[in-house]
Symmetry: D2
Subunit: 358 residues, 4 copies
């Protein structure tokens, strides 16, 4: 089913951008953990609009109301449903988009699939807005993972042609993770912020948008987690990540660079450290061999396409006249969603990893 | 479950490299189609070892014996089980690999997960050999897809630093598909064959291996197939592809290049052709928007890591002595598996697409 | 996962009896159907408390608020979430139940499973109250089924030792279905109502409760729907029905009576009618052979245990003192839930059948 | 999917009665256990034909050949595939059955579902013969369960109108379990054997068949196993049991008798025993409350319909002439399958319980 994922921890996401509310049901959570709601709200705020100049100025509180599964802030073990009321929906006219599907958007395939009955207002169920409940789910899962010694972190790897450093895949410190979490613009090399912001500002000025990449890491995973073949860790993460709008690629460890390497370079050699613990001297495989963790950090990068909603006049079709036409998209759109996507990638990864460990 | 995938067409793969037999159960096939076994065997041969100098000289017939689900070469609708007997298994000594896990292999994580009880001979269930039944399954699914007007094709996109052209994603002709199918070294620009073969030969000479990339396309998909969010076409293909050993990255359409682009460049504009059919003038999205097909060819690229089994002495650990050690892998190994992986990627894609259409 | 069921139509139920709200997410609904909310509310009312003397006098409006998946009363194809606010929750003291698990209730196994963190107020997630969202889901699915010519109906088959007639399994008329739907006490032989009510009243008078059975039928199913073995129609319905609290048995067609019969009696002979349509002269198999429909009505009966919440003093344990103890349950409880369970059985059957047909 | 079941332990059953081989893939087994093949063969023999006068005299060795997942009789953790070659298939003419569907059989619904392409020889994939691999899977799972202190046992509860005693659901001793396992006619009250055999013999003499019931128990389950709602223990067992041909009803604990009882009779009171262990004084609920085990034995009964293959001339239709017709079934058929079904019910229960515990 489209909006459900997971085996032991299963999330079911619902809602449309301009409907009454969006939300998520999380089934399979363990009982007993007391949820720190401040931490949850902090994660929600990282994704919420209106917090950064690279993003849409549209303000939305994104305050989650928990309907079930929690008593006295403590998980009961029953399905947890949280909803976020849509408060900032303008009664805008979407008839032009209904007629003229936006290039790069799901409008046209959704029109075919749903015979035109899908809710198109604000993107409906395809809107990036419904990643908000995913961030909620991830924030809860992150707190459970922390009890297991596992942390999920991510940073902007690139925006347009400007690149951040990558993680040292053999050694991602708690300090690094904390810094990224507390940063309003999570980079390993913060000197790149200005240049990246300029890429976004230039795009916005040109009524255009720009893409980027995100690097994510999972730290604290023991060796031996996962499955061979179709239920491997890579496949599970990939399926979850491609559930997030605008993601068009994923690579684990060195990923596509491995394709240019020799085995003698790419193989990660095993060693014992002074305490008798096993590690690898490099981590080109991104912590996963044969679908199973090897005890090193899991690392992967995802490609985020440029926001398709741009203010330039674009060529498209008119489904009413059945003629070629043009479209000019109005409204407040993100010139770059990479920054806001960072906590979303962390969240869906946290859900996936907790599922694996449950 | 590790070795099972699919919703409506479900495959369950079993077997170890040096066990009695490997095989697959395919559940959910439609009844009534007469299977062309010659075509199936041709696909099997494309993957089988011993057919090309870039691959291991180990000969293995890979002849599938169908145990169920077929009467008079015709699908009955009941689960189809096919097995391939392992005929060329040498009673080799694998105790050194059991002690000293091979860098880049699943040996160590599997040792942890299975407490050392996994079959290590020839890689056991993690061996590339168990892609043979996947090619069988794909060959059957391809024939069913053909009835629906859908074709799956792939070519070597690169080996090491040598690159083939990419598909024209808006126009992949039947001729192109046939040429690739009938080629012993499937390239769009066959002039690159020599250079690629040299990359492989050099690696082999250096007791090394080399990686590469494969581009795959699905032609003939109507618009409106797939689902939003977690059951999108990208996620389904990605989960299936990461089930194949050695795959470390996947990107749809322009993939990671999209991350460097502006929306005005990456958006694929919709147009009507002279017959009133809808198409896009570019196909940067790889035929998928919002997880749903838009009627253009689906295209994606996968990263294949260099074969980890190389003949050079490598640093590793000794799980018996719990000391650092070295390992020299003996035996016949592929210096490059990209060529043999082409039909495997086609096969698992065919299974996934048929599942979507069933 | 515990509170999720379905393949193509998937429902995810959440909520606790005394939490903020209960609800359901329905994923996989087709787009385009306009929902008749009056019909939905009529189904909700059939289940709601306070409508009949056999049930608890506790009044609860059970008004569903649709949060997503519907625009202008029309299904969009996106996940539909509906919630029902809990309005009549008393801030009662449940500490005695927490200490002393109620005989016949899930209190003790839930205490073990959730380490005492499950919400015990009003039964929490185990409460019969969370069948309300199931009735909502069933009401929506029933309207879609009607478009496909399929109807689901049920009646009280017995309460205590008083029995209603059973369906004529070969011929269930629209009139019969309408009569049952519109009846406040759905019986085929309405002359049994008084006697049944007396059973319930006597039980209530004795601070006791009483069980019963329900017969359900699905009319309008074509032959050839379903699957052999583990995904047969019987198995799917059974799994769904046992998801409803208090159900302890299910039998299809003649069910347990078949165990006493000979093949010559139980076999349903096939015949052509005057219009060339195939039917069976009897329907002992309940419309299902080999897991697949044969075109006759699907019929099954379920056993409903007596409500475990009775006002008599009962022997139980005290989990605090770890001594034997007694418990006297206070509050307003149904002396018999069979009447209120009728629409619930219809609803979960409708969801299951629509899933099969989707 | 039709022939696949399980979450963590997943079995995929394949084969047709008269095909090359039947078999099963078991995915998710733990590594390390050494399988006692003698015990496996003993279970296979309990189900095999030709061992008892109540069953078909058709002899079939039912010897399983393990193709994967086992090295030196020890589970590797990889998918285990076992096949049983069909050795006693007669090249009989099944064209009359193809034309004239047998009453009470899946012939007609399968004909519709598979457009006549299903293998009808010997019942094809619908044959009781494909329960042989299920018994194999169950035999392996039983050995793993034994390590966890869990035993599965069953007996004939009734044949026709002759009844055996039921289990004392509060106390099922190892001796009872051993006796049943070693008996060629598993009864709690062995004095009933003669009478039951007479029921079968009379039916056979009359060219007829007879049904019965089986009672199954799972002993050694801790409290707190299972899930509320749709993934409860009852639902899981029921879905698995209805995957076995000829099963038409299931009831847990007192089942349908509960429907006639009052809460004061049916509620099982909790008590501490002298060692501080919790038990219930009765076990009317069959060890399951709210879908979760309460620590008492799980008990359930299933209804087995009479074998539909009887030698009497029966009324049916002719799908070629599209006229009413008659059919006389030839061949060797079981007049009663209850005895042979006992180990099958045990087996599928063992698979289901191990899945729950994995």
């Amino acid at each position: 089913m489209s909006s459900t994922i997971g085996e032991n921890i299963k999330i079911s996401v619902f809602g449309e951008s301009h409907g009454k509310a969006i939300g998520v049901v999380i089934d399979g959570l363990p009982s007993g953990l007391t949820i720190d709601m401040d931490k949850v709200l902090r994660e929600m705020k990282r994704r919420a609009p209106g917090n950064d100049k690279t993003a849409t100025p549209r303000k939305e509180a994104d305050f989650p109301e928990i309907l079930s599964g929690v008593v006295d802030n403590t998980l009961t073990g029953a399905p947890l449903c949280a909803i976020i009321h849509n408060t900032n929906t303008k009664s805008k006219d979407y008839s032009n988009i209904k007629r003229c599907p936006r290039p790069g958007h799901s409008d046209y395939p959704a029109y075919v699939k749903y015979n035109g009955f899908n809710d198109i207002a604000g993107g409906g169920h395809f809107s990036g807005r419904i990643t908000a409940p995913i961030v909620f789910a991830g924030a809860v899962c992150k707190q459970i993972l922390l009890e297991k010694g596992v942390k999920v972190t991510a940073h902007i790897q690139s925006i347009g042609s400007v690149k951040d450093k990558s993680f040292d895949p053999c050694n991602i410190s708690d300090e690094t993770i904390d810094n990224l979490l507390n940063s309003s613009f999570p980079l390993l090399d913060s000197s790149k912020e200005e240049e990246m912001r300029k890429e976004v500002a230039d795009s916005a000025f040109n009524k255009d948008s720009v893409g980027g990449t995100i690097e994510c890491a999972v730290v604290g995973m023991k060796a031996g987690i996962g499955y061979p073949m179709f239920d491997g860790v890579e496949g599970r993460i990939a399926k979850a990540v491609f559930g997030i709008p605008a993601m068009k690629g994923i690579e684990f460890g060195k990923g596509f660079e491995l394709a240019k390497m020799h085995g003698s370079e790419s193989n990660d050699n095993f060693r014992y450290d002074e305490n008798g613990n096993i590690y690898t001297t490099t981590n080109n495989c991104g912590g996963i061999l044969g679908g199973i963790t090897n005890g090193m950090p899991i690392t992967f990068k995802v490609a985020v396409k440029p926001t398709p909603s741009i203010a330039q006049v674009q060529d498209t079709i008119n489904l009413e006249t059945r003629q070629n036409d043009t479209l000019e998209i109005k409204g407040r759109h993100d010139p770059c969603i990479v920054l806001r996507a960072v906590p979303v990638i962390e969240a869906i990864t946290a859900v996936t990893i907790l599922d694996l460990l449950s």
